[in-house]
């Protein structure tokens, strides 16, 4: 039925469709025509979602690791190629991106009333940048998309954000840029090691390339101390993006000040770029570095889980609460990834998707109520469930999904992460589990304060329940939350091969049947 997608450069089409839409808006549409621009942009991302859907059906679960590959010469002088391709991990993230794209655009209809032309242009550019990040199979190409994407996000926060938008926008941009330029040095070091060598270390003499699969293949041969430094360089870039404690301070600012759609994209997709980076690059390319720095990675993840949860508990602003909950949840994802076994990694990646859905939905819900009352303070609300029953129901479902209640998606991901962590070191799971308890506490407490009890604030008496458009963009998320919660198999099936590939790269002797991971020599020393 979808055979045709093998005949066309489908990944490029999915990536550049929003860019083409943005150019069309810039050159063909007048800025006074806000309504037309809004509709046109939404149609563009919707078409993009439709075009990306066949990927899900045509992706061969038993086939090659990377599929739908596209390859062309780009900058031969330094061996950069235009390489696109997706494995199961990227497939899920691409689908998440196109889906959240449509949802974010729909949610902007009523929220964005000023400078619509620029807004939709930047949103479309952002879409292209994010999709390119997940599809690039050339490290340099990846880096280009990674940086390009910062600019539209900067504008989205800076122009349509809240009171402290300027501060938040520049902080977001500077933090991420500092991280990524150091990552660039790491990429270049890999590049020279693969070809001519550097710093007195003899290179492998391979043709100059930035190919990710080539780097995967040479990973095991990189000297340990070099792995250590490259891992650190990548770490700065990815950890700031995730964000891991203590690099997370940009996140609450950016989230709180960004417009709703910006927060959705930021939490739903952008943060995943950091964890994706660890999975795609740090682990398979730098196995020794991963093992050497494992205690630090896990330590920071655990701190992030608990610290993020505690901060969330102290917030009075709903959006800030959700932002800090992201720090905690992303800590979970990192814990799963650095459990370095298939269960943990599967859970970590699935949780990336889950977090994208549930946190994206939470920001949307907060946005809904903010549009009506123009405040996000929890104390301003109370007893809303009687006035907005539909809203309360969906809010409750998403809250449960975020907490990790069985039958909903969060449960599957968190459970797998904890099993994976437990298999590596039992007390990691213990600390991690405390995050779930805290998560239940702050989420339910917020829910209780907003929706239950008597309605004390007269301003809330005339609040309207969700309208059709809002329901339309929230429903797909709710459906997916249940789907992943009840029957996660289709999602895990996609992940099976790439996850197996990565754990074997990290540990050549990895055996899925052995429960406890045998610690490699160096990390055993570090433990002593």
């Amino acid at each position: 039925m979808f055979d045709w997608i093998h005949q066309v450069p489908i990944l490029s089409i999915v990536t550049y469709l929003p860019l083409v839409g943005a150019l069309a808006i810039i050159f063909l549409m007048k800025k006074e025509n806000g309504d037309g621009i809004r509709k046109f942009a939404t149609i563009v991302v919707f078409v993009d979602l439709l075009v990306s859907l066949p990927l899900w059906f045509e992706f061969d679960r038993a086939g090659e690791l990377f599929q739908f590959r596209e390859s062309a010469s780009w900058i031969p002088s330094i061996g950069v190629r235009y390489e696109f391709g997706i494995d199961g991990i990227a497939l899920l993230l691409v689908m998440l991106t196109t889906l959240l794209g449509v949802i974010a655009f729909l949610s902007s209809w009523s929220a964005i009333k000023t400078r619509e032309k620029e807004y939709y242009v930047f949103m479309l550019l952002l879409q292209t940048g994010m999709l390119g990040v997940f599809m690039a199979m050339d490290f340099f190409l990846f880096y280009v998309f990674w940086e390009v994407m910062l600019v539209p996000m900067y504008f989205l926060i800076g122009i349509w954000g809240g009171a402290r938008k300027l501060y938040a926008a520049i902080k977001f941009f500077l933090y991420t840029l500092v991280g990524s330029v150091l990552m660039l040095l790491g990429i270049l070091a890999l590049y020279f090691y693969n070809s001519t060598g550097l710093l007195g270390i003899e290179g492998l003499g391979n043709p100059k390339t930035f190919s990710i699969t080539q780097f995967h293949d040479i990973g095991a041969s990189i000297p340990a101390d070099m792995q250590f430094w490259i891992f650190l360089a990548f770490f700065v870039g990815f950890a700031i993006k995730v964000p891991m404690f203590p690099f997370h301070t940009w996140l609450p600012d950016a989230h709180v000040e960004a417009p709703t759609a910006g927060s959705v994209i930021l939490a739903g997709v952008l943060l995943k770029m950091g964890t994706y980076g660890f999975v795609r690059f740090s682990l398979p390319i730098l196995p020794q570095g991963t093992h050497d720095l494992l205690p630090w990675m896990v330590g920071l993840s655990l701190i992030g889980i608990v610290y993020g949860a505690l901060c969330a508990m102290a917030q009075k602003d709903m959006k800030k609460l959700v932002a800090y909950s992201s720090v905690s949840h992303l800590g979970f994802v990192m814990l799963g990834i650095f459990a370095l076994n298939a269960t943990g990694l599967n859970g970590g990646i699935l949780q990336m998707i889950n977090h994208g859905l549930s946190t994206g939905a939470l920001f949307l819900l907060v946005g809904v109520i903010y549009e009506r009352r123009h405040t996000r303070m929890i104390a301003e609300y109370g007893g809303l469930s009687s006035k907005m029953p539909l809203f309360a129901t969906i809010f409750l479902i998403i809250t449960m999904s975020s907490i990790g209640l069985p039958t909903l998606n969060g449960f599957v991901g968190e459970f797998m992460i904890l099993v994976g962590a437990f298999n590596h070191t039992w007390w990691w799971a213990l600390v991690g589990a405390s995050g779930i308890v805290l998560g239940a506490a702050y989420m339910l407490w917020m829910f209780q304060r907003v929706f239950f009890g008597p309605m004390t604030n007269p301003e809330n008496e005339n609040l309207e329940d969700l309208n059709k458009r809002e329901l339309l963009y929230l429903m797909p998320i709710v459906v997916l939350c249940f789907w992943i919660g009840l029957y996660p198999k289709p999602f895990l099936a996609v992940l099976e091969k790439p996850v197996d590939y990565i754990v074997r790269k990290v540990d050549a002797n990895y055996d899925a049947n052995v429960v406890a991971l045998p610690a490699p020599a160096s990390s055993a020393e570090a433990a002593d």
Partner: protein, 485 residues
């Protein structure tokens, strides 16, 4: 000495022609009321284009070896710089047209000086003897001093010219003294001869040789405005008429880098190690100080002055790598930097008023509303200066960082990437004003002029094209390398 064959003089035709064109302009403008700014621009553009054609012809005919008794050379390296310098001058000429008209200064002499300065630069690019290099440098410098003070009724312009002259003369003096010491040590001024005689000289008179090359290096660092020899730069850049500032930031800097690289590659390979260490220190300090100082500026021209200091640091990073990759990175970056910088100054000129109004950050407030096209161009330039894709500035910086890393100068590369991330802050300062702030009545509106907008658009388009297809230029740069020491 052997008789120099006559046809070797023909190889100097481009420079000779440009000089004559400048003189013609000078003579015609001194008669009566002089020539109009537009006529002078047109004349200069035609002269520059004709020169470019001649350079192309001469490059095809001339041998790769030095000509005119070793005074000059016309290798691919020299030709690359000549094209770049001619392009930069041509764009500067267009930037100057309306600026002079509005300020009410005579145009003929201005363009005449522009052409003589360019002649000096072209000769510098081809210089192969310290004497010919120094004289060419002085031709450029003297013309530039007058250009900086061209707006004689503006106090700031006078101040700029005076500072530029005094410090420039000082640096030329230091350089000349260094040259004389090198002559004393090796008995020659030709670059090849110095390189050949240096091992012996360094053995017999090590102090003489060391002080000689160090003073020469200091003079060159002055010219490219590397820290701590940069103090003249901010005041001169702010005070000089803006097109002249653009010319200094691009043409003068490019020509100075051309001789800096050539002297160190061809004359002083013996001191390659010491030179690398010194340059590494200077590059790091330049990047740090240039970018940190730029953070605190409120005048856009002053900010750009410090930013150009910072960029000199990045380019030095490619120079100190002393590798093919480093050298073509420098050649590539210089083109990208030239286009970006000329585009930026073009935008500054569009916003400027008499008495230098329209230079603060606040004057850019709400530009995205008032002139969306211009703001978008400026946005491209600011991203390119920061080194973000998809722009030529991104690839330029990547190539430079890669070269430094490859050559083992990791710590310099780390300083480079961190300062370039830092630079984001002040470049975005303009973006913040343009896109996030609202204008009020006092903010000047740009008054687009055809030529200026054309130059800005050209610079922006090429900057983006270089960011998507960098290889077209890389191939050219790679074919224009100097032999490695």
């Amino acid at each position: 000495m052997d008789q120099i064959p006559f046809q070797e003089f023909l190889f100097m035709l481009p420079e000779g022609f440009l000089l004559v064109a400048g003189m013609i302009l000078l003579l015609t403008s001194s008669a009566g009321r002089g020539v109009s700014s537009r006529t002078a621009t047109l004349f200069s553009l035609m002269a520059l284009a004709a020169t470019a054609v001649m350079v192309h012809w001469v490059a095809g005919e001339a041998p790769d070896e030095p000509i005119l008794a070793g005074m000059f050379v016309l290798d691919g390296y020299a030709v690359y710089w000549k094209y770049l310098l001619l392009l930069a001058t041509a764009l500067t000429a267009v930037l100057s047209t309306r600026f002079l008209e509005e300020a009410g200064y005579r145009a003929g002499e201005f363009f005449s000086l522009l052409l003589t300065a360019t002649t000096g630069m072209l000769l510098m690019a081809g210089g192969h003897n310290l004497l010919s290099i120094w004289i060419s440098l002085e031709l450029m410098a003297l013309s530039s001093y007058i250009l900086a003070g061209y707006f004689k009724q503006e106090t700031r312009s006078n101040e700029a010219a005076l500072k530029y002259f005094i410090l420039g003369a000082l640096s030329s003096g230091i350089m000349l003294y260094g040259i004389s010491l090198l002559y004393g040590a090796t008995g020659s001024l030709g670059l090849t001869e110095i390189a050949a005689g240096m091992p012996a000289a360094a053995a017999t008179a090590p102090t003489l040789a060391a002080i000689g090359w160090l003073m020469l290096a200091i003079g060159l660092f002055f010219k490219v405005s590397a820290v701590p020899f940069h103090i003249w730069t901010p005041d001169v850049y702010v005070g000089a008429p803006t097109p002249v500032t653009a010319f200094l930031a691009v043409g003068s800097k490019a020509a100075s880098f051309a001789i800096l690289v050539r002297i160190f590659y061809e004359a002083l390979p013996h001191f390659a190690l010491e030179w690398q260490v010194v340059t590494a220190a200077v590059a790091a300090v330049t990047m740090i100080w240039g970018n940190v100082a730029a953070l605190t500026q409120n005048n856009v021209k002053r900010m750009l002055a410090y930013s150009s200091i910072g960029h000199a640091g990045y380019i030095l990073m490619g120079v100190l790598a002393m590798s093919e990759d480093g050298l073509w990175a420098v050649l590539f970056y210089m083109v990208a930097y030239a286009l970006i910088t000329l585009g930026v100054f073009g935008t500054v000129i569009l916003l400027e008023r008499k008495e230098y109004a329209g230079e603060t950050y606040e004057d850019y407030a709400g530009l995205a509303r008032r002139a969306p096209y211009l703001a978008a161009m400026m946005l491209i330039f600011m991203l390119a200066l920061t080194g973000l894709p998809p722009t030529g500035g991104f690839f330029g910086k990547v190539y430079l960082f890669a070269a430094a890393l490859e050559a083992g100068w990791t710590w310099v590369a780390v300083v480079g990437v961190l300062t370039s991330a830092l630079s984001l802050y002040y470049y975005l300062g303009i973006v913040v004003q343009m896109y996030f702030k609202e204008s009020d009545d006092s903010t000047p509106s740009p008054r687009p002029a055809g030529g200026l907008v054309a130059v800005i658009s050209l610079c922006a388009i090429v900057t983006v094209l270089l960011g998507i297809f960098p290889d077209s230029l890389v191939e050219f740069a790679r074919a224009s390398l100097l032999p490695l020491p």
